[in-house]
Amino acid sequence: MTGTDSNDAADGPGMLRSAGLLWVRFIWRHWLREWKLTTLLVGVLALGVAVFLGVRLGNKAALTGFGFFTESIAGESDFIIRSETGTIPVAALGKLRQAAGALPVSFFAVKERSATFELKDGEKISLRLVGADWVALQNYGSGGGGILGSGDNDPRLGESGAVIIGESFEQTHGISEGDRFKVYCDDREVELNVVGIIPDDPLRPEVPANLVLIDLPGLWALVESEPSLSRIECQLPSGSLRDELKRAAELKLRESAEALNLVMETPQDRKTSVTEMSRAFRLNLTILSGLALLVGIYLILQALEATVVKRRSEIATLRSLGVTPRQIQQAWLLESLVLGIVGSLVGILLGRLLAVGLVGAISQTVNTLYYETTTASVSLSVGEIAFALFYGILSSLIAGWIPAREAALTPPAQGLRSATRVGGLAFLGKYPIALLMLGLGIAAAWIPPLVGQSGSRFAVGGYASAILLVVGASLLIGVLFPAVARLLRAFGGKRVVISYAASQLARPSGRHRLTAAGLSVAIGMSAAMGILVASFEYTLTSWIGQLLRADAYVASGGNPSISNDGIIREQTWQAIASSPEVEGVDILRSYLVEVDGVRVFVGGTDLNSDSARYLELVWEETPDEIGPDALERLSGDLVAAFVNEPFFRRFGLGKSDTFTIPTPQGDETVSIEGVYADYGTETGTILLSRKHTSAWFGDNDVSNLSIYLKDPDSVDEWVSKLGQNFPALSVQSNRRLREESIRIFHQTFAVTYALEAIAVIIAMAGLGMALAGLLIERRRQLATLKAIGTTRAQIATMAMWEGVGLTLVGLIGGYFVSLALGWVLIDVINPQSFGWTLQYYWPLRLFIFLGIAALAIGGIVSWVVGYRFANLRSDRTE
């Protein structure tokens, strides 16, 4: 019976089979035995994936809410024709029709306006009134019933204020066919009558919840404006000749559009432009959400490391039985893989739920900073699922790599006692690499941003710098151990439990270094976010303090969007400005135009000259003249203009440069005389005297008014009175507007607070796991300690002080990481991505709180772990 059996496979089973055997026999059973740890690991990974996916989905739903209405109703357009000035004369439609000749092009003329709908609880939401030709639209829709199904021939379609809404509007707001509801449009209240519901159709995109479809002439009548269009969407019929027809139509229409001074593009071009506009915002959110996953990776690494230590004797036995290092490594990687799959799947479900909660907050931010958007329902596509799975599994495999290598390095049982501990964490002690990364990190900060087609900027150097600085600093953290050990000794005096803990830190193991590195990353990133938010808040508060000097502010509707196209008609604002209580007004009329595909606000201002009080801007490049009539005094041959900082960074144009603005009257060139700070928008803005914009754009309406009262103390009374007289207007006192700005600010950053808390909690769980690993590794020491009479409570206390020391190293390192990261975020990424210069503000209270919380939680977690593992037997595997 001796010798090798000829039936036995010489090389054993294949790679997958042997890894599978090890997984089923060992890892799976350990998972079942230690189900709490398994659940924690799956939970951590799931949380990371959920936050990442949730923010992504919420973000997507907020940004893609409303694309083009034909997409919801009749499918995607082939071409979109629009004007850089934002307005197309109606006559252009006929000329385009004529240019198309015999080509079967369907034209959808669209006029869009924003309106505000007040919910029952008083909250105001933004609606998009879309004026279109209903007769043309009835040719479309699934099932041949037109877009309205049975309601197409309803005589009410011709009534004034007749609108059609989508099913989601009906469900969200409880408004059904036949109901009437009031909305605020510009400075008036108008009543709309629901004459039809667009049924949801699985074959076409969902109609957004805040889309209200109205007949084109009806919209013109409603807003009392001269007939004009926002854009013209063109569609070609399907069929075998479609591609050929499309090419021919494109040629003819482009030529005609250019002759009419219009722009023709495909929906894809348009979507790319919209997407690029908010890329910086999305990146910021994605990176923030990536933080949770990064800290999750660290925890999984810690946990898998700890399992290697716990099962070291078992692995050694496997090695003695002939299992190869490669098979061990594969089995451990398989553990990471399975963990990644399970965690990601759970995370995807959680992320879907999270996205529903986040979408509102994100869309509010997008509204405030970028452009008016509406939210679509959160949808989980196969692509998103695949992305989340990929991301979760990759993270888990990255986290599992070092422990798998560590496991593979375990010697067979015969050599276990005499083997030198090699460990996969030796790289953590290589400080020259850390210093090199720090150097490269600093250098990367000077790499200029990548500029997208529509002017959006991606701070590639800034992000590279952040990663290098964080990783480099965390690798360097080991240098702090001796100092912290001395500090502990000095603090502990003759107390043996503290000096024992200090002795462990004086000669740190790879695990000590890894734990401290992970803690420093988590604490550092949390504190850096704190610095960023505090600096932002400080800058914003100072800015608002200087900017908001009027007693009250009046705008149309109450929609907070920066791109709100609502206006206050001349007779209305004149009535307000000339009321006896008013001492003076600052007037702003803004128009949205496009320059080289980049959206720019052109603001016509008329500042209060009746008083010593007027709008004072905060200057980045101070003009030669300041004061209410500075723009008038600076104008010479060219009209003088001031631009905001995002404009300056996007176009690279500042004081003494010239800029050409597209207007309905043709291109107008202005001279830039100053650059002012603007934290209200990421969109470039150019300010000039209103007399010029009135002439160029042909109206005397305004977008908003800043009111200076003769008796500022009576502002609340005045605001209330004006609100009653003009219910469609948004009237706010200075105090209320400041409060509202800060509220929106906090809402925008609420997600960061949650992420900071998650990062710290996960880091502390990692500390607990690391200590468990350290104690298991030192089981013989523990046995000796017990043999010489150390109590369980004393061992727990030793673990507690060791944990406190570790946390202190991580904390000090984390503070350094946060300072470096804070610098990158504030001085590199923010100016490059958003065009905002922030004043650096160090939130001392946050740092103190973070320090106390981390040390306290670290101490408690460590004591519990110490108590739990104090009774380890040296001759038993765990």
Binding site: G3, D8, A9, H30, A413, G415
Partner: protein
Amino acid sequence: MKVLQVSNLTKTYGEMPVLKGVSLALEEGERVALMGPSGSGKSTLLNCVGGIDRPDEGQIQVGGDDLGGLGEEALCRLRRDRVTTVFQFFHLLPTLSVAENVAFPLQLKGVSGAELQDRVDQAITEVSLKHRIDAMPDELSGGEMQRVAIARALVGRPSLILADEPTGNLDSQTGETILDLMESLSDQHRIAMLLVTHSPSVARICTRTLLLRDGSLDSAA
């Protein structure tokens, strides 16, 4: 027929010579006790023979194959198929039952189905643990654990079993029973055994006793 041939083995750790020109040979079915004080080099010699450690000089041949010419993977196969080990602290895999512990080395080789079942049953029957086949390691006594370890070492049909203090963690009565079992299995399957021990009682089942002192084989008892 020689199962093991060790010639002029030398091993040094740092400045300290641990083995100084050790030579020994084991015939098929032969049992040899290796004794010596702590630090004499017994474990190092065992590790070299098991392919865990590599000597600085000298040659180790198992069944005619020179271990010095084998790579890491081949050494793993050697431990799996031809040279198995019984430990003082048993080293059972805690998550596996008795049958699974015994079956594991065969499964690593790709043995499955009825053959696996038969061989595991046979090995467990030979160590008289048929009634404990589904028990987990933490439910076994020390003697039972060592029986499982012996069955696991036996099931791969090795030509040589290395035993590192096989009775060192057992009471004397259980230790004697285990030695009887090893003797009987060695005779029955013609398996050679090299037993490292401090206990003179182990020598009872061995045909020769080697004394290792300061890295050299001193004399045969």
